[in-house]
């Protein structure tokens, strides 16, 4: 995939409808090393993943509650938060050291869903918007690789080497490739890349 990926190249950037500017205030620095932000399917909860763990807001980001995760570490480094696109109770998180964790009850309980993954350092996690039990995970270990599950994380299978450059975020985008699949986008240290997900 590294060589097949299309790098979305840099181009001049135009101003984006300035309209009436509102000041961006510096709020309390409650989070450090933030890696992920996502709404659940019902748009009731806003989830945030950071170096210090997972946090959830029920009031549009004004207040946050830390979510307890069942891992040995007090505060696992969260690399990605991926809600199910249809079921607001289902959320996956990608961690730096504990693989993929999944909740089906809105975060009250969690289970590790790592069977088949080649490592526990997961830098990206994408759910297919058309098939919510199909996900791709970018795992960094000795070698970077993309894994796929088609059953909500019960079993992962390695499908590709993944993009070049350190991956920061991974997302399945519902744009048809013309080959029966959709695109997988990767935000990396080398820019934004995409590849058909029909590995």
């Amino acid at each position: 995939m590294t060589r097949r990926l299309t790098i979305i190249a840099a181009v001049a950037v135009a101003a984006y409808s300035p309209a009436t500017a509102e000041e961006v205030h510096q709020g309390p620095a409650a989070f450090e090393h933030v890696h992920a932000l996502a709404f659940d399917a019902a748009a009731r909860s806003l989830w945030l993943g950071a170096h210090a763990g997972v946090f959830r807001s029920e009031d549009g980001g004004r207040t946050w509650t830390k979510v307890t995760l069942p891992v040995k570490h007090d505060a696992p480094d969260i690399m990605g938060v991926t809600p199910d696109p249809r079921d607001a109770g289902v959320v996956y998180v990608a961690t730096h050291e504990a693989g993929v964790l999944k909740t089906t009850d809105g975060g009250r309980s969690w289970s590790e869903v790592n069977s088949g993954l080649g490592g526990h350092d997961v830098h990206g996690l994408a759910v297919d918007p058309n098939a919510a039990t199909k996900l791709h995970a970018l795992v960094r270990d000795k070698n970077q690789a993309v894994y796929r599950t088609t059953n909500g994380g019960q079993k992962w299978v390695r499908v590709d080497d993944g993009p070049g450059g350190e991956t920061k975020v991974l997302a399945s985008v519902n744009l048809a490739t013309g080959m029966g699949g959709i695109y997988l986008y990767a935000g990396t240290a080398d820019g934004l890349q995409r590849n058909p997900d029909c590995f």
Partner: protein, 86 residues
Amino acid sequence: MGGLPTSTVNGFAVDPSNAKVMYVAMRDGIFRSDNGGWTWTAAANGPKNVAAVAVNAKKPNEVYAVTMDGVIVRSPDGGAQWAAMR
């Protein structure tokens, strides 16, 4: 394809109602594409040093982002205007 500064893409989010509309979070700020990533436009009023971005699943014009140092910002209009949450 075109439109982004050549630097690290920290965050990425897609409008669930129109997958051609997407946002990226970068050190240089927030960028929006309306054509699946072929061209990009900077959010002129948005913050810099952005770590992640999210689109409201029910109101896709509502976009949230968070900066590297944890400041939450919200746009009610698809990225044109931004304000910090308090």
